[in-house]
């Protein structure tokens, strides 16, 4: 009588080909497997639906049937490890990237990364933006400028894709016509929630590279050097103006 049913349940819940765990019965003597299927269905369907609500554009790109089959495969190895479903699915984009049947849609994983970033930005810590005055004061001290560190808003996530993940996402929000999207065009975007709405802000490659340096915690001097190394056309003033105006900057430190 030391054996508890939880372990048996787990096996049977996640493997629809198994019959109900031993030790279950129904008052009318009917096969408990049909009844146990209610739990099986609740678990699998509710978790697939949680993924569908986070990754709705991915779902529309592959269709409901394909998505459900892919999500079911994912669940075999990646059941949530805590009850906060807003944080369930962090490894789904990586799973999609490796998922053989989806390999003909190489932009799918980055589209999933964008959707994941949007949900994380939505629930991120609230914070006020950096004021233009504060930035102005810092920029007026050229000797200290290379040591300046600019941190991004807590909701900020950067997406750098070899594909047009941003446009694909936008087309599924009816922001642009899908026919105009060239999936093979590399795109970058900053995902941000300055107030209550999540914004997807397209960035050019140089600004995205610079933003990545800021996210990595580099000083302004190091960030500019690094960005200029790969993007000789980088315009620091324009980049800072854009990030400031979109309220992507958070605090300054030295």
């Amino acid at each position: 009588m030391n054996r508890t049913p939880e372990a048996d349940f787990r096996q049977a819940l996640l493997n629809p080909e198994l019959s109900a765990p031993a030790g279950l019965w129904a008052w009318n003597g009917s096969d408990p497997t049909t009844r146990f299927d209610v739990y099986r269905n609740n678990v699998i369907v509710s978790l697939i639906e949680a993924l569908e609500s986070t990754f709705s554009v991915v779902q529309r790109l592959v269709g409901e049937q394909f998505f459900r089959a892919m999500a079911r495969e994912y669940l075999r190895e990646h059941m949530p490890n805590h009850p906060v479903l807003a944080r369930f699915g962090d490894s789904f984009p990586g799973f999609i990237a490796e998922f053989e049947p989806a390999s003909s849609l190489p932009y799918l994983a980055d589209t999933a990364r964008l959707e994941w970033a949007r949900v994380q930005a939505y629930h991120a810590m609230d914070a006020g933006p950096l004021s233009a005055e504060t930035l102005q004061v810092a920029l007026s001290e050229p000797e200290r400028l290379p040591q300046l560190r600019i941190s991004l808003h807590p909701s900020a996530h950067l997406l750098r894709s070899q594909y047009a993940a941003v446009s694909l996402w936008a087309a599924h929000q009816d922001l642009i016509p899908l026919s105009q999207v060239d999936p093979w065009q590399p795109e970058q975007a900053l995902i941000l929630r300055p107030q209550l709405e999540v914004e997807v802000i397209p960035l050019d490659r140089a600004t995205a590279a610079f933003t990545a340096c800021l996210i990595d915690g580099l000083t302004l001097g190091a960030a500019v050097d690094e960005t200029l190394n790969t993007h000789s056309d980088f315009d620091l003033n324009a980049a800072l103006a854009l990030l400031l105006q979109r309220q992507a900057l958070h605090v300054l430190s030295y």
């Binding site: 019965w25 129904a26 008052w27 049909t34 009844r35 209610v38 609230d126």
Partner: protein
């Protein structure tokens, strides 16, 4: 100060109400802090409509786990709505019914949430949902044994100690029974209430669903519970299926209006519990706000008729 819509009949607060010695009326008020009125589940699609319209409902209920996030619109709207309505926080992830120790991290998240939005009530389920680090996102059944009863009581004690408050424990909707069970569910729940001092969240739909599913009489089920310890009632809709023998198998879907049979059972339950905070629970196929408010109003009317009846009954 909260500016809750004043749906509680003023008579309840008058000396006449105070002296009504009917035990069903008096007992719940000792530990029930939700207003004796009808409430609805709070859904993000209704945030703005609720703030704009401030409909006359008594309280809002949220699932704790949905609000275990750092910031953003969920907290923003919950804070603003809590200025207008009493709040019930309903946990679905503690796994109180499981044999494994409670997840300390999850308890901490809960403490943080209850500090941020101090609710008028916290409730959880007689069920389990996590095992060996995996979360199943469903309320799974447990065997009703002496051994498990001891564990569940320890869990409830632990939660009440951590949250520094009495909690309500909800009766489950179940589809299977365990051969190992030696205690009827009602007796199991009564024992937990007795030993831990927790209250009951009586889900009338769950009673109806479980009793159909297990060939039991739902009125007998309710009258076997310590009804004076009911701090909240849930009403919800179910869907219909059949088991392997063709017998009806009802599924607690939270995706349909409350069924007539459940309304009838609710009226019966109110006779035993007295007027008590009642939630219209809807998590799927969520209708426009006025539909939910309409269902809450129907519950409210039944509640008020019990208030009248309780006051009119002669003093014992």
């Amino acid at each position: 100060m909260k500016t809750q819509p004043n749906l509680v009949p003023t008579r309840l607060a008058t000396p006449a109400g105070e002296t009504a010695a009917h035990h069903n009326l008096k007992a719940p008020s000792r530990f029930n802090t939700l207003p004796v009125s009808a409430g609805i589940g709070l859904k993000p699609e209704h945030y703005q409509a609720l703030l704009d319209q401030l409909p006359e409902i008594g309280f809002l209920e949220v699932h704790a786990e949905n609000y275990m996030v750092a910031g953003g619109p969920y907290h923003h709207y919950l804070s603003r709505l809590h200025e207008h309505y009493a709040l019930s926080i309903h946990g679905v992830g503690l796994s109180i019914g499981g044999d494994a120790p409670l997840d300390e991290h999850h308890l901490s998240r809960l403490v943080t949430l209850l500090d941020r939005h101090p609710p008028e009530r916290f409730s959880e389920h007689l069920a389990w949902s996590s095992h060996s680090g995996e979360f199943f996102n469903d309320l799974l059944p447990l065997p009703y044994t002496e051994e498990r009863l001891k564990i569940v009581c320890e869990h409830v004690d632990q939660v009440q100690t951590r949250l520094k408050r009495q909690i309500l424990l909800e009766n489950p909707a179940t589809y299977v029974q365990f051969a190992a069970s030696s205690i009827p569910e009602t007796e199991f729940l009564s024992a937990v209430v007795e030993r831990t001092g927790c209250g009951l969240l009586l889900d009338v739909n769950n009673v109806y669903v479980s009793c159909i599913n297990h060939g039991l009489n739902s009125r007998d089920y309710i009258s076997a519970l310590p009804c004076n310890r009911v701090g909240e009632i849930h009403l919800a809709g179910f869907s219909r299926d059949t088991d392997a023998a063709g017998a009806p198998l009802l599924i607690d879907s939270h995706g349909a209006p409350v069924a007539d049979a459940v309304w009838n059972l609710y009226a019966y339950a109110l006779e035993l519990t007295g007027p008590v905070a009642t939630l219209i629970e809807r998590d799927n196929n969520i209708p426009p706000l006025p539909i939910l408010v309409g269902e809450a109003l129907r519950a409210q009317n039944l509640l008020l008729s019990r208030v009248d009846a309780a006051i009119e009954e002669p003093m014992l």
